[in-house]
């Protein structure tokens, strides 16, 4: 019998490096195709998170998120974070990275109030985290944020919705979705977005819930437990609507199971 090859011979590792990817070990190395793989992996991390949807009308901008719990014994992970009275975010990806970013955004918003007595314009807070994220993609030893954000806000120029990605990119949208199976939500939004501008808040939430519902797995439904809505608008400070207060909006949904009481698969009292 041949003796077992000791691991120190390094052949396995060598083959691994050779046949997988030589250009994704750090953030400072380009691939010959002109890509930085680490950034793309970070973008993949966003798709691991449950979906978040954002849309806006002429008067409001709203966020809707699907929350996960790690099991029946745990609570649902919070996915909407208030930044200031006029700004809120929804997250998909690494929650702890989002906490760092939201902390930074809150500081920026407060700084603006302290220094200028002015609510920070939404674009500026988004470009601030964009710059911060870009820095993480250009310094050796760094790692990009593993979280994507939808940012809604209301300032002197009206309601805004932005998407922020770990690459440092950010765009303004009429409507957008990020996270797991967000393509389904995007399809819904693309079909209906022209009617959003003049929609009432109720209509906007209904559209959002429909889009969010499309991201669900086959046997799941949205209910008051696994869903949150964030609203900001004209004369309306940013506010998160969840729990029983959400029922009114879930009742607006047409067709399908609206997930009342203990009918859903994920409901706590079914087991």
């Amino acid at each position: 019998m041949k003796s077992i090859t000791p691991p120190s011979n390094n052949k396995g590792l060598y083959i691994g490096v050779l046949f997988r990817n030589q250009y994704d070990n750090d953030i400072c190395t380009w691939s010959p195709q002109g890509r930085i793989h680490q950034i793309e992996y970070a973008l993949e991390a966003v798709k691991q998170g449950s979906a978040a949807v954002g849309l806006r009308s002429k008067t409001h901008a709203i966020l809707l998120v699907l929350k996960r719990s790690s099991g029946d014994l745990s609570s649902y992970q919070k996915k909407i974070i208030k930044i200031d009275d006029h700004i809120g975010i929804a997250i998909a990806g690494l929650t702890s990275d989002a906490r760092v970013l939201s902390n930074f955004m809150r500081t920026q918003a407060m700084r603006s109030k302290m220094l200028f007595n002015r609510p920070l314009p939404v674009y500026r807070i988004v470009s601030a985290i964009g710059d911060k994220a870009q820095t993480n993609t250009q310094h050796y030893g760094g790692r990009p944020y593993g979280v994507g954000l939808l940012i809604v806000g209301y300032d002197e120029k009206g309601p805004h919705l932005y998407e922020f990605a770990p690459s440092g990119n950010f765009f303004e949208y009429y409507a957008m979705s990020i996270g797991a199976r967000s393509q389904s939500a995007k399809t819904y939004l693309e079909k209906h977005y022209e009617s959003f501008a003049d929609a009432t808040l109720d209509e906007l939430v209904r559209h959002g819930l429909h889009a969010l519902r499309d991201t669900l797995q086959q046997d799941k439904e949205i209910d008051t437990q696994n869903c949150s809505v964030g609203v900001v608008g004209e004369d309306q400070k940013f506010e998160t609507i969840e729990g029983d207060r959400l029922q009114r909006y879930l009742d607006l949904l047409d067709g399908g199971d609206t997930g009342q009481g203990g009918e859903t698969v994920e409901s706590m009292d079914t087991e």
Binding site: K82, R106, M110, M114
Partner: protein
Amino acid sequence: MDMNSFLPIQVPWTPQTATSAPKQAPSFFPYADNAGTVAAISGTDFAVLAADTRQSAGGNYLINTRYQPKMFKLSNGSVFGTSGFYGDATTFLNRINQRLEWYRHAHDKEMSTPALAQLISILLYSRRFFPYYVRVLLGGLDLEGRGVVYGYDSIGSYEACLSRAVGSGGKMIQPFLDNQIERKTQTGILRAPLTLDKTKTIMRDAFTSAAERDIYTGDYVEIFTITAQGVNVEKFDLRKD
């Protein structure tokens, strides 16, 4: 305690100091006294705070403006009032509001008035050796819904009290409140608790009287009433000379 004891010693101008010794430019003095009066009374289930709205360049016999509020409703439903140096007051107010906002972000609820009272003490003490030249009063409801009023010195020592008056007219109003609210110097004491209306009347009379004697108190008085229903503000005229 006399506020001035916390401040660097200033040699007052006299004909002697002006003519004797070679003339030297006085160094920069970082405080001003913008004067004005703030008073507070706590009741069974309410608190009443009042402040005049005149801002003066203290010691200068100048009225800066007839309306610059020195009492503010805080986001948690308490009311904060201060007389003294207005630059310190606005900065101090901003710091309180920032701390309240972080508290709200962290705990998803409003800070209670007694907790805020402690926070204000700490913030004042953080500048123990370069004090905020402010006389602070804080009023609100405690966790049981009773009216509470806290009085401070400028470096952070504080106590809960039934009534307190500070600022340029404080020395005139305090004995009146001692008599009417705390019934300390009354003969034939009536023990019935004060109603909200009676308390507001006492407060208004106190300011009308102080405005008669104190040149730095006047123009308008704003009366803040804090009950379980929220904060209510009323504004009344005072003499404007």
